[in-house]
Symmetry: C3
Amino acid sequence: MPLPFDSRTVFFTLEVLGTFAFALSGLFAARAHRLDAVGTFIAAFLAAFGGGTLRDVLLYQRPFYWVANTSLLWGVLVMALLASLLLRISSRWLSGGVFLVVDAIGLGVFSATGTQIAQQQGWPMLPCVLMGVITATFGGLLRDMVCNEKPILITDPSPYASIAFVGNWLLLALLHLQWLDAFWATASTAALITLARVVLAWWGVKLPQLDDGGGEAEKTS
Amino acid sequence: MPLPFDSRTVFFTLEVLGTFAFALSGLFAARAHRLDAVGTFIAAFLAAFGGGTLRDVLLYQRPFYWVANTSLLWGVLVMALLASLLLRISSRWLSGGVFLVVDAIGLGVFSATGTQIAQQQGWPMLPCVLMGVITATFGGLLRDMVCNEKPILITDPSPYASIAFVGNWLLLALLHLQWLDAFWATASTAALITLARVVLAWWGVKLPQLDDGGGEAEKTS
Amino acid sequence: MPLPFDSRTVFFTLEVLGTFAFALSGLFAARAHRLDAVGTFIAAFLAAFGGGTLRDVLLYQRPFYWVANTSLLWGVLVMALLASLLLRISSRWLSGGVFLVVDAIGLGVFSATGTQIAQQQGWPMLPCVLMGVITATFGGLLRDMVCNEKPILITDPSPYASIAFVGNWLLLALLHLQWLDAFWATASTAALITLARVVLAWWGVKLPQLDDGGGEAEKTS
């Protein structure tokens, strides 16, 4: 099924949104850890480009999307620079709610595009789904690992990667059924994942944690 | 020297064993850190596929072994799912001894196959040996790093990577001498590394730790 | 502009210096964390080869520089072996000043060569500059992450990556102006970065840290 417009351009537009959302999560982490200008850049760049770069390495996509179009790099650079100034003035302006929404956009966009690109390369279904999850979550993982923190990904019981996992299967079904062309299937899945993330986090839905029975007792004591 | 059977199939069989062994180590880590279902998947997948994927990236082997045959991914997925259920019921069923043996199988298989594949690509000896060690240990390293723990690899004085290092040199010697064909040389080295790991850990052999003389005193105070 | 000698050989010579400097930083980290022989190897190898290997993966340079010429690997292996012996005897022989200088050499060499190689491949300017910074800093990042420590890169307010960032832009300007051929431009930039690092660290110059106003108070309390 042919696309009505150049798919590279479209995915790039989606990636801009996702990248800035993840870069913002890096700025939040930098503020929480009181990093200097360089640390802020590193946290923002790892969060913004970590997942997409790993995707391009694993799928052997060259040139990297941030080499083919450097405006993304410049954008995150400017964000990190402005952050260094802005965060010093405005203290707790960007609340947890804003963070949740922008991060959910990144989750939706990168998991859907990661899955779609792998599918386009003829990968089998499960690797496609996992590639989407990896693309969406690896940047945040690196961001937290570099801050020497247990990653939010594995500590926060609020559903995140699990939503991407389910959503990516839905995307594969949509691509298979061909009701929508590849772009609209990917875009609507991205929107759905974003929505599901925000709503489930808002409702306070939590995944069950593993424990051996005496877990709660040990935690409270 | 021609192989009596398709080498890809044979190595895949060995990799299945090693992968499940490492995935199990991820489940143990997930339980120790009280991770939720998603965290359990991540720990299991990183431990199981981290080393082999890095090997395939460095040696530029495509498709990845988990793309060419997705049954490995499905297997680890099911393991992680069952773990979430099983570990809640049976508390301390899988003892340290079981963990030691399965992990030793993974160590043996991945270090021998990693070395053999690099040797097949015409890499020089030391890089081949190190590639084997990396393949066998990188997954565990990632598993511990994502749990924000000092990796067992560098904290445990019990010999682990060092056994793989020595074993891989032996494998290169075997491949050079051509007493056995490539498969049997690799398989027997894998078995030997596994055996050596279990026996040395059982005997409590420890590598000497670096200190400046006053190490013990500082630790106890 | 043709080089008067084989550029591969020249860059390899520079890389030898940088690699041993970074390996030494790995040995220091190993001593600080009281690692055993294997841990010492891992810290030294990650610090020495982490950045250059990531550069070769991202720029798809094969064979890896440590496969094309294994003497680097052997050198670091011997360093780690001697370290295990030496560090036990001589307690605090290698002072912070020595560490600063050797590490600055590594910073200068790897950021300049990383930038130059990316530029040679026709990458745009900002990715070239960032590739240099990544090549120079990723090894140290991995070294600290594997030791489960907040990386020096993001905690130390003394300028490090920022010097490489500025220096790499200078290198691109030099390469563009063509006053010097590629080798001398790269070598002089490497020297300049090294010098700037040592001098600025000596003077105690610090980058401003992000805080929300009440930062100092919270720290002292």
